[in-house]
Symmetry: C2
Subunit: 218 residues, 2 copies
Amino acid sequence: MNSLTEENYLKAIYHLSKEGNALVTTNNIADSVSTKASSVTDMLKKLADKNLIHYVKYQGVSLTGEGLQAALGIIRKHRLWEVFLVEKLNFKWDEVHDIAEELEHIRSEELVDRLQEFLGNPKSDPHGDLIPDKHGKFHKKELIRLSKMKVGDSGSISGVNEHSAGFLRYLEKTGLVLGKKVVIYEIIEFDSSVTLLVDNQEITVSRDVAKNILVYEQ
Amino acid sequence: MNSLTEENYLKAIYHLSKEGNALVTTNNIADSVSTKASSVTDMLKKLADKNLIHYVKYQGVSLTGEGLQAALGIIRKHRLWEVFLVEKLNFKWDEVHDIAEELEHIRSEELVDRLQEFLGNPKSDPHGDLIPDKHGKFHKKELIRLSKMKVGDSGSISGVNEHSAGFLRYLEKTGLVLGKKVVIYEIIEFDSSVTLLVDNQEITVSRDVAKNILVYEQ
DNA sequence: AATAATTTTTAGATAAATCTAAATTTATAC
DNA sequence: GTATAAATTTAGATTTATCTAAAAATTATT
Ligand SMILES: [Mn+2]
Ligand SMILES: [Mn+2]
Ligand SMILES: [Mn+2]
Ligand SMILES: [Mn+2]
């Protein structure tokens, strides 16, 4: 059983290793949990003793399998509670984070499972972040090729099928980057090229390009 | 801002002063919060310094107005969360107490107010205990004279209109004490006397007696 | 490669809440 | 009313998480 403080450290290490590199540094963690580097060092020893992190003095830390599962458990609770606050208690999406920071530490497994069910097994929280399931697995987004979508469909660009530098440079130049919201505006019969609405601008791409862009619908 | 531990002490003092006498003793509290008398003494000094309790060495403690409001705030949260767990998450009434012990310490005022609204402003928790409102007031039970009830109605004896020793002795003797569950079995036309079912026994009382017994219906 | 700057760790203290054991106060028994 | 028992408080330690200041290790600069 990890203390509330240990849980917050694990969560911080998880988030930091998502953005930056695999190894997280002492000062990064100190900033993240609003404490001093010396306090972090103390806690890192403790977490390493409990086999929750790999810790090499002066080098940095990463989560062990066990530590990762613990972190994902807290993140799951955080995001489910955020859904509850927005969907059931009518909070705005920007008002819920701090309350969820407290609720995420409530221990009962049964409570989380039932909450998830009560909320209709949501896959993402009010900020669009994915909610891991009971076993720490993220529900893989169902990605669809842009070329398979119909006029009026919409979604956000979430992947590509073609990784050549040329193709990626092309996407970059036309603004079709990851996360960008798109609406299918028109499909030209003659060559099956697709006109999209992106940031209120019309952009037309060939069928070859459309086949290699993966979209998360709605 | 009171710590989680301080909140638990305040709640314990509140509950103990409800059952026993006004002054609560060190050992009572120690039992109640599962700690040692010496720890309790330390905490009592601290709570007295914060003006949450009246504390006289060796004599016992009682809550100040401020301490009472703090205790009622926690009890309100505890009972609202219990309603949530039973009504919304389908827990059984005997499974919710321990989870509510954690949830009662979540701080946001806004959260509690919205939770109360979401639950339809319940007046009592799954165990029948009254839920104080935002200002620490209990919704007064609607008591009805036994003489005004109809055949088939039921409820629990919750007060009397006549406080003479003779009347109270009579009630004591017939077993019509506070909290007793009663069902109206028959109302005799001739003199309006009432036959009740109490503990599966028939008891008949005169109209004069029935007029002075107050029942909380259902 | 030597020096300086930065990062990290160690050493020693502090605050909250707890404990055990001893001292004090209050209650009960004779 | 004194002796004994019970309840309560004090004294001194312990654990968790934190801090500041100093030492050690790593990284960057000349
Ligand atoms: Mn959040
Ligand atoms: Mn947190
Ligand atoms: Mn309860
Ligand atoms: Mn509690």
